[in-house]
Symmetry: C2
Subunit: 717 residues, 2 copies
Amino acid sequence: MDDLAAGTASAILGAANNHPMNKLLLILATMTLAAGAGRAQLAGTPELVAPGVWRVTIGTPEKITPVNTRQVSPLTNALAALPAVTDCPLAVSGSVSGRGCRVHLPLADDEMIYGLGLQFKSFEQRGRKKTLRVNADPITDAGDSHAPVPFYVTTRGYGVFLDTARYATFYCGSTHLQPAAAEAAGSSAATEVEVPEAQGVDVYVFAGPSLREAVQRYNLFAGGGALPPRWGLGFWYRCDAGFAQTNVLAMAADLRAEHIPCDVLGLEPGWQSHAYSCSFAWSTKFPDPRDLIAQLRRQHYHVNLWEHAFTHPSSPLYQPLQAHAGDHEVWGGLVPDFLGAEARNLFADYHAREFVALGVSGFKLDECDNSDYTGSWSFPELSRFPSGADGEQMHSLFGLHYQNAVEQAFAQHQQRTYGLVRSSGALASASPYVLYSDLYNHAQFIHAVPQAGFCGLLWAPEVREAANPAELVRRLQSAVFSPLAMVNAWYLKNPPWKQVDRAANNAGQFSPAAGQVTAQCRAVIELRMGLLPYLHAAFVRYHQEGLPPLRAVVMDYPDDPATRALDDEYLMGDSLLVAPVAVTDAAPATDQPVQRTVYLPAGDWQDFWTGQHYPGHQHMTVTVALDRVPVFVKSGAILPLAQPTLSTEEADSWKLTAVVYGEGNQPATLFEDDGAWEPQLTKVQLAWDAAAKSGRLTRMGSAPANAYTVTEWKAMP
Amino acid sequence: MDDLAAGTASAILGAANNHPMNKLLLILATMTLAAGAGRAQLAGTPELVAPGVWRVTIGTPEKITPVNTRQVSPLTNALAALPAVTDCPLAVSGSVSGRGCRVHLPLADDEMIYGLGLQFKSFEQRGRKKTLRVNADPITDAGDSHAPVPFYVTTRGYGVFLDTARYATFYCGSTHLQPAAAEAAGSSAATEVEVPEAQGVDVYVFAGPSLREAVQRYNLFAGGGALPPRWGLGFWYRCDAGFAQTNVLAMAADLRAEHIPCDVLGLEPGWQSHAYSCSFAWSTKFPDPRDLIAQLRRQHYHVNLWEHAFTHPSSPLYQPLQAHAGDHEVWGGLVPDFLGAEARNLFADYHAREFVALGVSGFKLDECDNSDYTGSWSFPELSRFPSGADGEQMHSLFGLHYQNAVEQAFAQHQQRTYGLVRSSGALASASPYVLYSDLYNHAQFIHAVPQAGFCGLLWAPEVREAANPAELVRRLQSAVFSPLAMVNAWYLKNPPWKQVDRAANNAGQFSPAAGQVTAQCRAVIELRMGLLPYLHAAFVRYHQEGLPPLRAVVMDYPDDPATRALDDEYLMGDSLLVAPVAVTDAAPATDQPVQRTVYLPAGDWQDFWTGQHYPGHQHMTVTVALDRVPVFVKSGAILPLAQPTLSTEEADSWKLTAVVYGEGNQPATLFEDDGAWEPQLTKVQLAWDAAAKSGRLTRMGSAPANAYTVTEWKAMP
């Protein structure tokens, strides 16, 4: 029992730093208190650290945490612009013992919880136990995730972030204290959180007043949302992993010949000539990478390179990294300690010099998560790193700090990037990387689009092979209503629209319907290109105000109980509700129209395609032809649709058709992005005069080189 | 880095007790060492604690561990009787840091690992990462288990036990140290273990010299194997959970009328009148439990009662338990702190007075595990208990200490018991409880029979419903070759041999083939009754020498690579190799003969049924009729088969047919068990004179009241 009392004492007395002298004082205090001292619940005192953001310190927090290792500062001014909230909305308490830190977060009876990072298998978290462990292939709903985040928001309009890199366990109202214990804790229902090992934790409470504003505050605290370059919001095509330089050029030509819009081509440079760990040296299949990239850039392609961080002995990075790596290998390669500036600088300098200087626009950062289910292939949690991190902390932070290292290479060139990453974590909102995974459950892929948005994450429901062409179209439809629209053909020698079957595709046997399927897919991708100005504007809002561009319906309608479990439809920007048709085992894809249920929250909604009006606050069944995605527009909105082009570099991509839904009384805001490292964003507003039936574009400032023009105003009354 | 250095210092300097003054000294030492001190690897010095058992102490072990809370002492004399090994067979090292304790256990290249408690999804553990977490429904192969045990043995002939109640993670040769780190650790391949939170751990190394003897040593260190009363090895039938007193009596009569051997009837006393937590008060469906039990005992039935430990407020146990329970409720009930003598005594006294005194022979201890997958229903790991244990430690220890509490009720009556339990753990060998689960995968159920035997556990592959009568027979065949042969009809109103389909069974619609299926099942159960003397003798060896009665083939043939992965066949006692036919999705049961592959290790083997000879050291395919189980007998063995009776209380159960295989040159040993609390075990030997073709029974001592006689010697040359 002495141990436990000692823990309590350290929590009571713990100062915020770890100087050994403080420990001595704690222990001396413990010795005095030990006899008979119980484990007091520590009611934390909230300290205002930013507008609407309070910190409650329990015990003595660890040194290696998301906040302490952050590379991006909070956007304090933007936080101040949100509605003022004067009092911390939650009474946080906690205690410390030999096993770690326990936090008590009261819950009201009707309160629903969302977040905890990317969670494929659940949306509402109340009643669940989640251990936030990094895992590439979550098999159960126990908290494993590519991107766990110790942050949640509730329908009562606040958020809670535990600043820890530990695999914390959140009991989201799933535990039941004995009556006496509940009285001592001050509430019966609660989210109880356990942070293992840590002798304390900082708990950040984010005010709303609504759930949506609580999410915004978290994102602004994290530095504001990422703003991709325009090309990043175009269409992506990843080539077969075995492609040589000539194959890549042939694919680039084929896409243009088929009039498939494409801004980004992804390649694998063959960095595994010796083992699965990376040499970061082009294989002989790429005799002249500089020329390859130059050729592709001339065709308006941006180039994205696949890699992972585990560094093979043959790599030029190996020797310098040795002193800045963990004590365990992965696939015979070093694990860089990205928490230290040395490893980050080595990676950044190398990538800047060898790749960004050649014109590479971005990277796909693979394998930076972990797995307990497919052979336990990453570094173990008991690993040790020169920064002082252990493997558990490193797993929680590895994805983001790998992003940071590579981002630094682009910063050296003052160049924006947009990339892919398989793991991320807390406070990652500002990082221009989109999560993906090797899983392929379409319903989960759709679910993850809004679900990721609770915690400052972006998710790409990528498209690979398909059971039939209809599935390809349905999957592509969900991809274009996401942060990153991509076909990932890494194991397909030919585009899937020519042949969906993997074996036949790789044998070069094209489907007799290839032409028709290509046309169907082209139309879906052109829809993406059309939506690009609108989506870009939603990202600017993410960047400046922290509002996720893709988000759950409950985020905007937290008081409507019918929205609480909605994970198969979501909001894109402020005017669109998207309800993709999911391909599941129970409902395989078909060429025929299918039915799905959609819930429309309060308001007057219109069908995106036909303009038909639907009153909100209702569930309804819609019949959806294969070439249609169920999308609903808030009546009154003006939707600017760009002229579809083969890439965002074509001048016509700035030409808009402004579609006016209903009265058109909600002006649309767009931003002319000059693409710079610190972008100049010229604000443009489209307004409609219903009486005059005429529209108008108003620019706040002078027109930049690339400026929007409206070529047509189209009424959908 | 200071924190980590401090951890090392505490490991170097830590004394075995936790007096605050030691902590002060540690911290003072830390302050001195902090600057520049690295984390030294601690090479532990092995201390001989029992014959062939060494302890290596890393850092300062915790107070609440399996060894420190054990209720049973090691069998030192039996340990001394095993072959002498003079040197500790393994160089153990480790270190301590803020995150817990890390242990390094070298591995040779060809070394295979077994154990870690009940592991449904794997047999060989090398290359796997296993976190030993208590869970009732292991979904992945990540270590979740009803009965995790931090003990493993290897084909190099030693065992390792970490004395911890933490969810330790074993990286069984799955991690790869950097070359420099491997050199510091003294070996490249290793099992690395992490014990979370603990600032130290005692590592026990069990010598062989063979794998089998290492298991024996572990079991003897745990107190020797359990010795069930003879009735426990008979056939068990658990009644429908909703049965009232009259239904139970009707079922008892029906079993006798159908000539189905049965020694134990299981009942549910209806202790959930208010909630799922237990009142431990008979429901009104049982108006006269004393009379019910007396009637059943007169019919030679033993009675086993279902319960779990979570105590409802309406229970007489609730009020006295309140001060000796955890701070969280489960299903509205208290969680008794069985690590404290108070809770154990309360449970023991109540059970002794209310149930054992009435003639109850045993209990089925349900729900004492945990789940992270079906609603997280048990107490959380962050729970606190008056004994000082937290929820994690309590989960690791709860099953065994619950068994101990109930065992204590029987000790008060000087009565042996045999029961069922859903969770167990380390050092449980002596506890007369058999594990079961709600899962129902037949191949896993068979796998668990030998797999459990590596760690002092017993497993019951119970039979419930079946897809067809053939499946029922196949499942029953595996049940009778196990430590506890049971039909668990808790959701079936009628025996499954009358109707395998659950809905039809409960509607009272009997199959037209009911008579035939009953006869088939009766024959299988009679086989169990016949094998009982042989199985009992194997249990005596378990009790006295620690040798598992059911064990993996690799345990007896560790040098034969072909045995290393064998988990679908196993040894029962010293002479039988059992290879049940598993019913799987790929191979559903059928009335027709089926084929299966069997591996026979070195030696001359004979078919149990026909006496046909098969040379060992070969894989072979056998064709198996539905009424046969592939069982092979070591040629030369004498197999004593009892006359099948309706219960072990019938005098004819002591009458034997001695089946002589081959030369019969291996005498059989049996034990006449008087059934007492401290049993008198009269040793009997059956020997065969091949030349004279005559056999002989030799008794070491005078004949007890119940003595074996051989009524027939039957040669299977």
